[in-house]
Amino acid sequence: MGSTSSTLSKIPNAEELSQETGFTSAHLARLFERFEALDKDKKGYLSPQDFEAIKELALNPICDRIIGAFFSSGQEMLDFSSFVRILAHFRPIDNNRPKEPNSPDPINSRINKLKFAFQLYDQDKDGKISRNELLQVLRAMLEKQVTEEQLESIADRTIQEADLDRDDAISFEEFRKSLEKVNIDHKMSIRFLR
């Protein structure tokens, strides 16, 4: 795996990153190696094409949205710190962390995980999941299994279930509320990143 310290020295701001994201240095080193492995042209940053080159990811029904989550706001270059910051969402929640009242939530808190998922729906960033956006995601996930009408009905029903203020769209609050009983940590954590 190489020596951690040498890898760490290549990472700019390793200390700050570790502080901000909660990753240990070992993890950062490992992620950096992965970053470099993905960056085939050795550009020093990642582009969407590098992501699309990952075979398994390409098979994922929502791969373009996932890629879009990394490359937000239209940029084409992803440096290591942004890469790591986004991956930090997937750290399992630390229950033992002492709560400091003034510090912001860590990146991997439940709320932030939910926000991450929410932004995958909400492409136009208006803070709501409209029916169309929901339909697009559903279409991607269900692929050819259902007809268009079924999709629309499902979308209708989804909005109807969650939409409390009757604006025909799901806001983040409604989204959060509908998932309040679900163990998000289980669903959106990657074990090795602990």
């Binding site: 991956l87 996930m141 050819k144 629309e152 163990n183 959106m188």
Partner: protein
Amino acid sequence: MGFLSSVKPVCIVLISFAVLALLSFGANAEDSPKPTTTKPPAKPTEHGPIYTAPPQPLPEPEKSYLPLFTLNYPRVQIPFEITLWVLLASFAKIGFHVYHKITIWVPETCLLISIGLIVGAIMHSVHEQPPAVLTSSVFFLYMLPPIVLDSAYFMPTQPFFENVGTVLWFSIVGTLWNSIGVGICLYGVCQIPALGVQDINLQENLLFASIISAVDPVAVLAVFEDVNINEQLYIVAFGESLFNDAVTVVLYNLFNHVAELPVVDAADVFLGVLRFFLVGLGGMLFGLVFGFVAAFTTRFTRKVREIEPLFIFMYSYLAYLLAELLSISSIMAIVTCALTMKYYVEENVSQRSCTTIRHVIKMLGTVSETLIFFFLGVVTITTDHEWNWGYILFTILFAQIWRGLGIVVLTQIINPFRTIPFNFKDQFGLSYGGLRGAITFALAYTLPNTIIRKKLFITATIAIIIFTVFIQGISIRPIIELMNVRKTNWKLGTINVEIHTRLMEHITAGVEDLCGQWSHHSLKDKFMRFNNRFIRKILIRDNRPESSIVALYKKLELQNAMEVLDTISGDISAAPSLISMHEEKASNKSSFKPKRTFLASDLTAMHEILSKNMYKIRERTMSYTNKHTLPNDSRAREILVRRHTSIRRSLRARSFQGSESARSQKYFSLPLGQSLDTGYATESIRLNADGDPALELHNRSVRPKPRPRSKQPRFSTTRARLDPLQELHSTVNMEDEVRAEESSHRPSRQSSSSSNSRSRAPLQRHSSLGTPSVGEDDPEGDEQQLESPPPAWTPEPPDRGSGGPRNPLLRRAQWKPQDK
């Protein structure tokens, strides 16, 4: 008064015991052991001889009259005795529920053993012997498979596969740890001269230790379910109990064989280990093969619905027997067979077959288990025991210690690999819940007689079983509640939850791929993809890829439909309403008329489809099933009630805008505040446009549409009289209808809420799709305040009894009328 009423059934039970006892006792010849039930102790045995000889009035050699009354007990002896025992055990089970609080605090197995003890005491007091039926072959060939099949079939598959590593780890390594640890410690104890057990050698100790490390937390699982313990713990306990039966049996055979060898050397040990793996993996392979073959067979059983359940049983049993033939792990074979088979078979068979299969499996498993525990109680009293304080106490002590230690150590090793690690409370629950049960007893009882100290082993086994079942079984409930072990929050998901969690799983799988890691998310994704592409095509009857989102959605929609049916007292059968819709479309677009008859038959088929899917879907998403009872559907009722109010609200708020189709419909449950009318029609266009109406009709759920009830044609099989529906287009009519309907809500409400939703009146006009089973019952025409009470859904009742003629409609593929 309450006491009296609870005493009465007890008296009835006791009296029937007495009757049975007299019956069996009186009929019995003196020689064979009798399956005596409890009998009033005062009855002497002299009654026996009276009945044995058939009366021969005249001793003349050449003329003997036809005997009027003969008794031929030996002919029916075996089935008779078996039946009586089973009946007695079942009466015991009935008896427990007389006072239902008992079953909350005392697990059922305790009660069964107690009854067995009582019966054994009675038998002992009259110097009877228990029937010698529990031989090795009877147990392994007849009693064990139902128990294992029961556990395997009702294992919740999704949580199981997510935890399969943990389960296998605990069961295989844990059992090995326990057996070897306890065996060696007992061997050490045996060396103490004071106990007088020095003649037990290491192999026999290991054999004994392997027997008593088979955990059977039947009672504990019932407690876990009652307190809604967190799913991880539940599934690990469940899975562990199932798989360590397999491991124990393998070890048992292994050590049995080894115990007979005078000398054991390293080659034997190595071979033993090798054999262990061979046996386990071979069993799994067998099970997989049989599972797939069974699933494949059910693809073709459309015409022979009545024997569909038979295939399931025969294939699993065949897998078991073949594995026994080859001396590989039959338990693994039957478990894997059931797990593989279940998923595909439940898609292929009809609902009735599905229900039958579940019921029969549950019944057989329960009977088997009951019998074994009951027998345990009887045998406790009636056999000669060899009691050795030291050995037995040490056995219990070591078993507890090693189990606890084993759980802790194993958890420490596997926790890093788990997404939700086990905390100490979970571990405590798991180790304290390690009761011993049926399999332990049967294995001990069927030890070969070459083992010198067999009686001691039996006594020790019985002691540990009784200790764990009574003491741990009774105390685990208060302890779990006191310790506040993590509970689950499983409840019927909403569509939102389903979709969002699916999305999150995809995200996580994607990010894992991104990071180059794999875990069960990506494996699951890969497997599902493979499944959908290849396996389903081969094994499932008509290729119907169905995502769980769609399945849940359909289920919820149908439930709402049922609810709507409940609220609106109905007479109007849905078919006419659909037809009317199409009629309306026809009036706008003239090309539909020739397709009319086609649509009508589609409707019936749709009802079939929906009812089938509704039932099936419900079962599929109910993953958290009870080990002792069948899954219940009470949750569906809650949702119905909740939806009910929202529908009523929406009905009132509704506004009718005429019949344009704003978008494609199929949305039963009226969205709050939205208009009712939108697009029922686009679909009918599709019906004509493409040649695959089946697909469309199957997928859609028709938007409820009010239909003027003025002329309700009888929905006859001829389906000819659709003309009267011609005039139903105007929105004004519809509005009138709805308002009139509103007023009819109230009277119908009371009756609807009280009756079972599924057996309710036929499809009412607000839902164009209902289920045939609903349609068959009497409509509440009398509650309508509107014009002519619409006729009942007549075509269905004749078909009700037989599943046959309607079944073709369950298969989506053919929708042509002539297939009926």
